[in-house]
Homo-oligomer: 208 residues x 2
């Protein structure tokens, strides 16, 4: 992916990202970040002044990543159910690219009220358009009677819940740090299939 560790600042940021996400804020020592980055630890102060500053940069990036996992998947021009399927799968895969991030974000928010406010003020508003877009899609179908009436928020939360916890559970059952073994891949593939199916079924109209 990123092939230019050109400047020290970027190197530090990437090292910090890795370690913060692995260990959380206070289990992470600035010296360790410096070591991982291969620079003198005074450099962290030179570029970022404080540990918290550096952390906030990382956290903002990652929180945006996690909460933005929905934004990019509405483009395709497909039939409704195909589109939903695509959204669920794309979301699943995006979490797969950073499987530790969601739990990291939740944990840090719950542990630290200041960060919760930060999220609410800066990031949730950005999610508004996603809801609205989904709302239009869903409402149109509901009106046609092709799907059951659901709120877009519930639908969104259902997708996020199934996908996020699939990876969280995988990290409890398996040792994720040693790469994706066939066993892990099988588990994830099964969950992916299951999640799509559950979401699609949740939209089906009930008949008696």
């Amino acid at each position: 992916m990123e092939l230019k560790p050109a400047n020290t600042q970027q190197i530090i940021l990437e090292a910090a990202e890795k370690i913060f996400i692995d260990k959380g804020y206070s289990e992470t020592k600035t010296v360790e970040i410096a070591k991982e980055a291969g620079v003198n630890h005074a450099m962290l102060h030179y570029y970022f002044r404080t540990k918290e500053n550096l952390f906030n940069k990382v956290f903002e990036n990652k929180a945006n990543f996690f909460l933005g996992t929905f934004k990019d998947v509405f483009q395709a021009d497909l039939p409704f159910f195909e589109k939903i399927k695509t959204i669920v799968e794309a979301h699943f895969d995006r979490i797969g690219a950073n499987p530790k991030v969601p739990v990291f974000v939740f944990r840090e928010i719950i542990a630290n009220k200041a960060k919760r406010d930060f999220i609410l003020q800066k990031i949730v508003p950005a999610g508004r358009p996603v809801i609205r877009e989904l709302e239009q899609m869903v409402d149109a179908e509901v009106k046609k009677g092709t799907i059951a009436p659901v709120t877009p928020l519930d639908l969104l939360l259902n997708i996020a819940s199934l996908n996020v916890l699939s990876y969280a559970m995988a990290q409890v059952y398996f040792d994720f740090d040693k790469g994706l073994t066939p066993e892990i891949n099988a588990f994830l593939a099964q969950r992916k299939r299951n999640n799509v199916e559950v979401i699609l079924k949740s939209l089906k109209v009930e008949r008696e």
Copy 2:
């Protein structure tokens, strides 16, 4: 609930529980636990020797609680779909009694491999019977053709995912520490209804 803060050891344990779950292992300072418990911080060492020792006691309790949320809900003698509904709701409510615990458990496991092994060895085997009991219930219905074929593991993970993330999300959106406002209760009630419905629908037989 617990009306006997009789001995110091118990007081310390309860204080530790509260703070560890709020802040995680390393953000928690032993002095703070002592202050919360209203005792000299040397008492922690007197009763528990080390911080890690104390943490492990708390963690084991809470991890067992979380993973045991399924065990107690299979008793009722009801029709299948009613039973599933009861299970989902009971699980939801048990998480509600300790809403921060699931994310706490995930985070600490992911941050600390040693704890993951601990979980796998001591706690997952205890979950085996739950799977088996569910398996019997499900298989019987599948054979009758009254529900779609699903693996009990998937069903279990689906329930856990929806319920756990409902509370995790609630803690991102709302300030949970100031008690349950009507707003929070409304959100949770809606999620509870939704989760039951999604799970039940996931079991419905597909028709064309």
